[in-house]
Amino acid sequence: MLIINTINNKINIKNNRKRNDMIFYICLVAIPLAQFILFYIFVNFNSILLSIKSYDAVTGEYSWVGIKNFERFFIEFKTTTIFKTALKNSLVAYFAKLLLGVSLGLIFSYYIFKKMKGHNLFKIVLFMPSIVSSIVMVAVYKQFLERGIPGIVQVIFNVKIQGFLANPDTLFGTIIFYNLWVGFGTPILLYLGAMNGISDSVLEAAKIDGASDVREFVSIVFPCIYSTFTVFITVGLVLIFTDQLQLYSFYGADTDLVYYTFGYYLYRGVQVGSVIDYPYLATMGVIFTLIITPITFFVRYLLKRFGPSVE
């Protein structure tokens, strides 16, 4: 009898603990999950609904319009230059960042990882633009390019040059350069984190075999951090449609149309536009998502299929 009671007690304690665990777990995840349902699932679902609606400013009500907003976008894309320009600018910026930003980021990370000359100082220097407000960075950069550099050139070479942002031919390139210039911080932190996970014995073996820095980077380090690199590339693809190139910090809502990107267009539309514009902006968001999603998964597949092997 005593044994049965003891067993029953143990089962009760176990059941109570399971119930308490479940209650505690629900308390922990309930609020964040509710936020996720409301501000991710419902917000994105509402975006789709908004894309097939239009807002009547007189009655203050939404009405269903089917695919009219989608038709409007494709007609405007064909007949106006703004979207073609935005597409061109967005692609140029994306590929510039991909080719120069990513490769330099990897090389700088390797430099710091190998503890080459001044690595600690450069780590701080490369991360610093990430902690400074973009408004401050842009203001200093803008004024320095417009007054500082022409002044220096005049003193040294006695030649008068136009400011890079004042010259329409160099303006867009200057903005892309700025975005590269300030964009090394976070990638370097993540690449370094991945590099620090590489086994010392592998690096030692390469050293004994007399591998040069470049050889070690190409044959050992890059394959070992390839998964981090893949995440960076695939997650970064969406920037084609969301990157604003910090144009808001440069020119606020008054950027010249020829320098627009899609990201800037969408943000500006919400910031200076009104409720009337929301359905059309949501339509653009839905179209861009439909375009970029398969591209992202395809690129991810290619990177995994044809990437270097750690073996």
Partner: protein, 301 residues
């Protein structure tokens, strides 16, 4: 004899430096030079008068003018709607809004990621696996242009243009920091939990007094990184709290201000330095923690 040996040893020293290192060093030195010279130029010119700036944009200020900073403080106010009229939000109120937005927001978001990561890494329910998959999936799935819908949602909930609304938006566990906490909690052995439970500790005790202290460095790093981002952010406040300007929002308005009293470059630069200095001091004090080893797997504390 000793000095002779030293000489011999000195002669034997070979500087081992590869071409790769030399090229990188030159690029990095150039990068540092551009950063230092542009900021140094900016700081110097923030102390110049308008005329001095035009005549002498490369030299030392003649004389140093502190008034640019006082003027910047005076004209930093942002015009906002107040009922049927308008009012100006000055620096003290902008500072308070920044504290509420940045401190509150970073604390809420870091805590949310930490709690969700703890729950899903330590409790082996199906929902935990679903949540983990959701985080990974949302990181890969690119969604564009949800901003109008999000603004509409906040308006419907009556939280648009309120600091609480921004906090609700920050109660969000999606993203890389969840994964960092998740990895950190996974590394803690189960025995820690079980030993405490046997000693009579509740689930809450285990979480607050055993688990959270073990990830305190990760927590600290993430909250500081988030605080810096929120402190500098002006586009989100511009959209979600247009009538509760933060300091960065104020700085944005200040840099595009057409007001004659502060429309020249030295005044604009002085305004920039006002919000740059506090965050720069914070960075100098905490740079070792901030730029430690962050990885997808975790932060080494």
């Amino acid at each position: 004899m000793n000095s002779a040996n030293k000489k011999i040893n000195f002669n034997k020293i070979k500087i081992k430096i590869s071409i790769f290192e030399i090229v990188c060093l030159i690029i990095l030195l150039f990068y540092m030079f551009t950063l230092v010279i542009s900021f140094g130029w900016g700081i110097l010119n923030s102390f110049k008068g308008s005329f001095d700036y035009i005549e002498n944009s490369l030299g030392i200020p003649k004389p140093f003018i502190l008034n640019n900073y006082f003027d910047a403080c005076e004209y930093f106010g942002v015009r906002v709607k107040a009922g049927a009229g308008i009012r100006y939000v000055q620096i003290p109120e902008q500072f308070l809004n920044t504290i509420l937005y940045a401190v509150g927001g970073s604390l809420i978001q870091t805590l949310t990621c930490c709690i969700m990561a703890y729950a899903t890494s330590k409790f082996n329910y199906k929902l935990s696996k679903i949540i983990y998959t959701i985080v990974i999936f949302t990181m890969i799935l690119p969604i564009v242009g949800a901003l109008p819908s999000e603004v509409q949602m906040l308006k419907n909930l009556g939280m648009y243009d309120t600091i609480i609304g921004t906090w609700v938006l920050k109660t969000n566990f999606l993203g890389i920091h969840y994964l960092v906490f998740y990895a950190a909690f996974k590394e803690i052995p189960k025995e820690f939990n079980e030993a405490a439970m046997i000693d009579g500790a509740s689930n809450l005790d285990v979480m607050l007094y055993i688990m959270f202290p073990l990830v305190k460095f990760v927590f600290l790093t993430i909250i500081i990184l988030k605080f810096i981002v929120d402190w500098n952010e002006f586009q989100i406040p511009l959209i979600y709290i247009p009538n509760h300007p933060t300091l960065s929002y104020g700085e944005y308005k200040f840099t595009i201000s057409p007001n004659n009293a502060v429309s020249d470059t030295p005044h604009k630069l002085a305004g920039c330095m006002l919000i740059f200095v506090p965050i720069f001091i914070l960075f100098i004090c905490l740079h070792k923690r901030l730029i430690g080893n962050v990885s997808m797997g975790g932060v080494k504390g």
